[in-house]
Each structure stands twice: as structure tokens, then as C-alpha cells.
């Protein structure tokens, strides 16, 4: 029985992933849940386990290629695999069986939902139904990341006119939404419109390098952050002398005893936890006109990588002691650098 291996959806806003490394060759025997390949997505780099035991029959997507989620990237021949369930005579596609945890977004104020099964492929536009527009409308849609399927047309025969698309762009959220990143990386994110006219960018000698997906996301999030949250700066100086002295004095002992390094970070995180307890309104998200006060203190820490930057989250930092925080930081930072973070570990930060 052939089992399709698919590109999993690693997070709800993820549309594609890049295969960075195949850990098995065609013909290799794989066990169920054994790491099969490594991927890189907008949010996380991860190892993907085999959905079934068997023999890797075919690799359909080569290393370095970026494909949309749910794309079949390989086929495992599960015949004769001891772990495989008794296969029905007519093999049905096993897509749904692929153990792809797609962590659902926490919907306030609902309790944390259990991981839901992989969502079905996003419905394609109804076949045969052509969206009527114009060259201008298509260009504007591309430039502003508008999905024309979402724009109601008021022109002749329901054609999407200039006014319709300008209305959609003006309305922002509703119809206009970021287009899925294209493979080339030449995506005009809605948040990343050119501040400088193109003709003032391309002059003289130059080379154009597409941004990595991670870099695009960083830029996009920075811009969105600037837009949705007013930035206010308050500076206080803190005398760190005693912390530095304490660390110098105890770090060797700490590492020997607990088998993890003592850095400055747990001091900072611990201070943040205390501060957030004292000022709980800071541990919050804004949802339109509501403020969502988080009861958990989940602290995100930026980890610089050679190829970008990622923010793993220490979940339940408010319930951890100093040692627990130190361990969590070191563990997350280490796995961030070795691309072993799980998708849920870069989500649900509250601060």
C-alpha cells in the first residue's frame, strides 16, 4: 500500500515549506515517526517524521524546492510493514492519516483546544469560474496582495472594476490580505509596500537578492507591529553590578550541579515575570476594541541565527523557578540553532 508523504502545515498562516534535507534515500527502510526529511517554513525549521513504516519508494520534491502545503513530497510503500494497519483492498489516499499536528490558534476566551487534525486543503476557486477583471485590476491585486476571488465586482457582467479593487485595497483587512509567498520570494507583502519609488531603487550597478521567507516575515511583522502598536520608549538604568558578581561567583558551580549554563537571560526573564505579575495589563493582546489579558506568562526570546532570527517562547514562565527558566532558555536556544524547534514552541507568546 502506498502512503503519500505530504508537506505539512506548520502553523495556521503557513502556506508553503522548503525541503532542506532528505534524511532517507529511495529504497531505504523507514519506521513510523522516524525523521524522514527536514523542512524550513515561515515560522519554523523542523524534522518531519514518516507517516507510516515501510520503504521509501519515491522522492517527488528535491532538496531546496519550495512547495505549497499538502503537496505530496514522497511516497512510502507500506506493504508488508508490520506496523501498518490491515490495508483495504482498494487503497485510499492516506493523506488524512498523516500525523501532522497543525496547532490551532488559541481562540480567546476558549480553553486551549487539543491539536486538531490537519485541515483539508484550502478550497481552490470553483473550477471553470473565471474572475473577470482587467489588466489594471490584476496588477493592483498583485501589488497589494488582494485575492480577486474575494472582491465583489460591480462592472458589466460582474466584472471587477478599478473602483472595486481600490475599494478593497482601501478597506484593508476584509478583502485585501497577504498573498501566499511565491517561490521566488518576490512577494509584495501588503505590509511591505515600497516606501521609495522603484525607479529610485534600481540605478547604477546592482544585484537583486530575494529575501528568504524568514526575512520577509521578520520585515512584515516589524512593519505590522509598528502600525498596530504605538511605540513608546521609557528608559531606566539598572545597576547590574550585583547580578554580574553573583553570576561570576556561581556559574561554574551552577553548571556542574545543574548541567546547564548560567547566563544573564534567566535574570532578565525572571525580572519580566515579576514585573508582569505586578502590571498584568502589560501581559496582554489587543483584539480590535478589546484587550485580552493573558493569565499565562509566556515569554518570547529572540534567538539570533546565522540565517535570521526566531522567537521561541518559554511557556508558563510564571510557574517556573529560576532554574526552570534557565533550562528552558538554554534548551530553546539550542534547538533554535539546530532547527529542532516544534511549531508550537514559537507560538502563543504573551510578552
Amino acid at each position: 500500500m502506498a502512503v503519500d508523504v505530504i508537506m505539512p502545515q506548520m502553523g495556521e498562516s503557513i502556506f508553503e515549506g522548503t525541503i532542506t534535507k532528505w534524511l532517507k534515500k529511495p529504497g531505504d527502510r523507514v519506521e513510523r515517526d522516524e525523521p524522514l526529511f527536514e523542512i524550513s517554513t515561515d515560522k519554523v525549521d523542523a524534522e518531519i517524521p514518516a507517516p507510516s513504516a515501510g520503504v521509501l519508494k519515491e522522492i517527488k520534491v528535491k532538496e531546496g524546492q519550495t512547495v505549497p502545503i499538502q503537496t505530496v513530497v514522497a511516497v512510502i510503500d507500506a506493504a508488508g510493514a508490520p506496523a501498518a494497519a490491515a490495508a483495504p483492498a482498494k487503497a485510499e489516499p492516506e493523506k488524512k492519516a498523516a500525523p501532522v499536528p497543525a496547532p490551532a490558534k488559541v481562540e480567546a476566551p476558549a480553553p486551549r483546544p487539543a491539536p486538531t487534525p490537519a485541515p483539508a486543503v484550502a478550497p481552490p476557486p470553483p473550477a471553470g469560474e473565471k474572475i473577470r477583471s482587467s489588466p489594471l485590476v490584476r496588477r493592483l491585486a498583485r501589488e497589494h496582495g488582494v485575492d480577486l476571488a474575494q472582491v465583489p465586482g460591480t462592472g458589466m457582467g460582474g466584472r471587477i472594476t478599478k473602483h472595486d479593487i481600490l475599494g478593497a485595497i482601501g478597506a484593508g483587512g476584509a478583502a485585501a490580505r497577504p498573498a501566499p509567498p511565491a517561490a521566488a520570494g518576490a512577494v509584495a507583502h501588503i505590509a511591505l509596500e515600497n516606501a521609495v519609488p522603484r525607479e529610485k531603487i534600481y540605478f547604477g550597478r546592482y544585484e537583486v537578492q530575494p529575501m528568504s521567507v524568514m526575512r520577509q516575515k521578520i520585515a512584515e511583522h516589524m512593519v505590522v507591529s509598528k502600525r498596530v502598536s504605538p511605540h513608546v520608549y521609557s528608559m531606566d538604568e539598572v545597576d547590574m553590578t550585583r547580578v554580574v558578581e553573583l553570576r561570576e561567583k556561581t556559574k561554574a558551580e551552577f553548571e556542574r550541579k545543574h548541567e546547564t549554563k548560567l547566563t544573564f537571560m534567566p535574570f532578565f526573564v525572571r525580572s519580566c515575570v515579576e514585573a508582569l505579575r505586578a502590571f498584568p495589563t502589560v501581559n496582554a493582546s489587543v483584539d480590535g476594541t478589546s484587550v485580552v489579558l493573558h493569565k499565562d506568562i509566556n515569554i518570547g526570546i529572540a534567538v539570533a541565527l546565522d540565517w535570521g532570527l526566531i522567537v521561541p517562547v518559554i511557556k508558563g514562565a510564571g510557574e517556573k523557578n529560576f532554574l526552570g527558566i534557565a533550562r528552558a532558555i538554554n534548551d530553546l536556544a539550542e534547538r533554535a540553532r539546530s532547527k529542532k524547534l516544534k511549531p508550537e514552541e514559537v507560538q502563543e507568546g504573551t510578552f
Binding site: 482587467s134 489588466p135 489594471l136 485590476v137 490584476r138 496588477r139 462592472g155 458589466m156 466584472r159 472594476t161 478599478k162
Partner: protein, 324 residues
């Protein structure tokens, strides 16, 4: 400033240029004693004498041939064709000789061929034509087709001063119908530059000559329905002011071309191609045309009215385009 007619403005240009430059001479059928079939050249003979205002035999080829030869001797002839329809007689001379002389032999031909053109005056098939496109297709020529007295005067002066052959089309419907204040002093209007006659937001109407007035009339009617049309007057067809056309289309995103010339091979097709090449992704609708029908110009007034584009035809097409 005095209000002058289209015809009067042309006459002023001829007077002033002959005054300014003794090399400027006029020649044509009945332009001297009679003052021209439409009286454009009235008074020139009295003022400048028979050596510079020359009545010719009824032979268009003789007129063009003579003018070309005069150019080689250092004169700046302005040849009148009594009706521009008969420029077809001189097709070979103009396209094969006059247009190529500068390029092929390094001998520029600073001549102007001018004459009444266009319909709307019940002139029938031989006295109503718009033969501009035969020549707009010919590299080496310049083709001018003004719509207002101010432009007619300024463009004719530029044409006379140009060192290469210029064909100057005078729409006879406009001769005495259009009046405008024209400055007394010397001024010129540059060749090859279009002008936006009316600003608009919803679509661009590119036009020239008599149809410029038809288009403006249509634009005013459209404005009552809330449709704001921008009207671009080409003024010169060769060289064509692509930039002004593209600029306007990029603003309004829709284009209607209106010309009195017959449809097939009219400049609308060329303009449509230019816009597709230069502003395809700015188009929010098809490029439409309002033109004369692909028939000879009819004699009967009712048929001629049907044959020529009317303001209501422009309104209808513009409405369709705005709604698209």
C-alpha cells in the same frame, strides 16, 4: 486680443511669416487674384506681389514639384492644395521624393503643403476626405492637424519655419465656425506636442481636428451624468505625442479614440497599439473607437450625418466604456 476665426488665424500666420522671412512664398490654384477657394490667401497678392504669391495651373503635381524645387533653391514654399483630397495626385512625389530627400541626399525640403480637409459641409466623396494617414505612415514627413485658431496660427508658423516637409491639414468645417482670441504678436506652437483640452477622471478621449470639438461637446454632456472625460487634442499626428497619451491613460485607465477619418487604418489603431505596449497594465477596459464609417463620404446630408461621428455617438461609447 481680437476674436479671430480659424481661417483668419491661418491667414495671419501666412502674412506674418511672409513679412518675417522673404524666403517664404505661396503657390497654388487661384490663391492670388481670387484669394483662394476659401479666401484663406485673400490680400496676400496685394501685399507681397506676384513673385511671392503664385497662381498655378490646375495641376497638383506641378504645385508640389515646383515647391520641392523652390525648396532646393533656398525658398520656403507654402503650397496650397485647393482641396486636400487631391494630395493623392502627388502621393509619389511626397512619399518617395519629398519625404526622403533629406535622408537620401542630405537635401532638406523646407516646404509646407496645406489645404482644406474633412467633411460636414456636404462636399461629397471628393471634397470631404481625411487623407492624413497615408502620410502619417511615411517617415520623413510631419503631419499637423489643428483644432483651434490659436493652434492653427502657431502650428503653421512652426511648420513654415521647420526645415523639413510638413503637411498641414485645415479642417474646412472649422474655417468660419470656430472663433478664438489670438494674440497679436508672434508666437509659435511646437510640432509634435499634444494638449489636454479638458481634464477628466473616468476616461480619456484622444482626438484631433474637428472631432476635438465634437469630443468636447460630448464631454460636457457626459459631465451631466457624472462621467468626467479627459480630452486630449493630438494637434500633430506625426510625430505623435505618445507621452501625453500614455500619461492620460495611466490616469484615467480607459481610452476612447475619436477621429473623423475612416475606421480601418485610422490613427486609433496605432494609438491602441501604443497604449497596449506602454500602459497595458493600466487599462481597466477595452480601447474603443468612434470613427467615420468605412465608406466613401456620402453626398446626401442625412447620410453624411450618419457617416461622420456625432457627439451622441461619442457620448454613447464613452458611457459604455465608463460603465465597463
Amino acid at each position: 486680443m481680437a476674436q479671430v476665426t480659424f481661417l483668419e488665424a491661418i491667414r495671419q500666420a501666412l502674412f506674418e511669416e511672409m513679412e518675417r522671412d522673404p524666403a517664404v512664398v505661396c503657390l497654388g490654384e487661384d490663391i492670388g487674384v481670387y484669394g483662394g477657394a476659401f479666401k484663406v490667401t485673400q490680400g496676400l497678392l496685394e501685399r507681397f506681389g506676384w513673385e511671392r504669391v503664385i497662381d498655378t495651373p490646375i495641376s497638383e503635381t506641378a504645385i508640389i514639384g515646383a515647391a520641392c524645387g523652390m525648396s532646393y533653391t533656398g525658398l520656403r514654399p507654402v503650397a496650397e492644395l485647393q482641396f486636400i483630397d487631391f494630395i493623392a495626385c502627388c502621393f509619389n512625389q511626397i512619399t518617395n521624393f519629398v519625404a526622403k530627400s533629406h535622408y537620401r541626399w542630405g537635401a532638406p525640403v523646407p516646404m509646407v503643403v496645406r489645404g482644406p480637409s474633412g467633411g460636414g459641409v456636404h462636399g461629397g466623396p471628393f471634397h470631404s476626405q481625411n487623407p492624413e494617414m497615408y502620410f502619417t505612415h511615411t517617415p520623413g514627413l510631419k503631419v499637423v492637424y489643428p483644432a483651434t485658431p490659436y493652434d492653427a496660427k502657431g502650428l503653421l508658423k512652426s511648420a513654415i519655419r521647420d526645415n523639413n516637409p510638413v503637411l498641414f491639414f485645415e479642417h474646412k468645417f472649422l474655417y468660419r465656425r470656430i472663433k478664438e482670441e489670438v494674440p497679436e504678436g508672434d508666437y509659435t506652437v511646437p510640432l509634435g506636442k499634444a494638449v489636454v483640452r479638458r481634464k477628466g477622471r473616468d476616461l480619456t478621449i484622444v482626438t484631433y481636428a474637428a472631432m476635438m470639438h465634437t469630443s468636447l461637446e460630448a464631454a460636457n454632456l457626459l459631465a451631466q451624468e457624472g462621467i468626467e472625460a479627459e480630452v486630449v487634442d493630438l494637434r500633430t499626428l506625426l510625430p505623435l505625442d505618445k507621452e501625453t497619451i500614455l500619461q492620460s491613460v495611466k490616469k484615467t485607465n480607459k481610452l476612447l479614440v475619436v477621429h473623423e477619418d475612416t475606421r480601418t487604418g485610422g490613427i486609433a489603431g496605432e494609438i491602441a497599439a501604443i497604449v497596449c505596449e506602454g500602459a497595458f497594465e493600466d487599462l481597466d477596459g477595452p480601447i474603443l473607437r468612434v470613427t467615420a464609417l468605412d465608406t466613401p463620404a456620402p453626398y446626401a446630408p442625412s447620410l453624411e450625418e450618419r457617416f461622420l461621428p456625432q457627439a451622441k455617438d461619442v457620448v454613447e461609447k464613452a458611457r459604455e466604456l465608463a460603465r465597463y
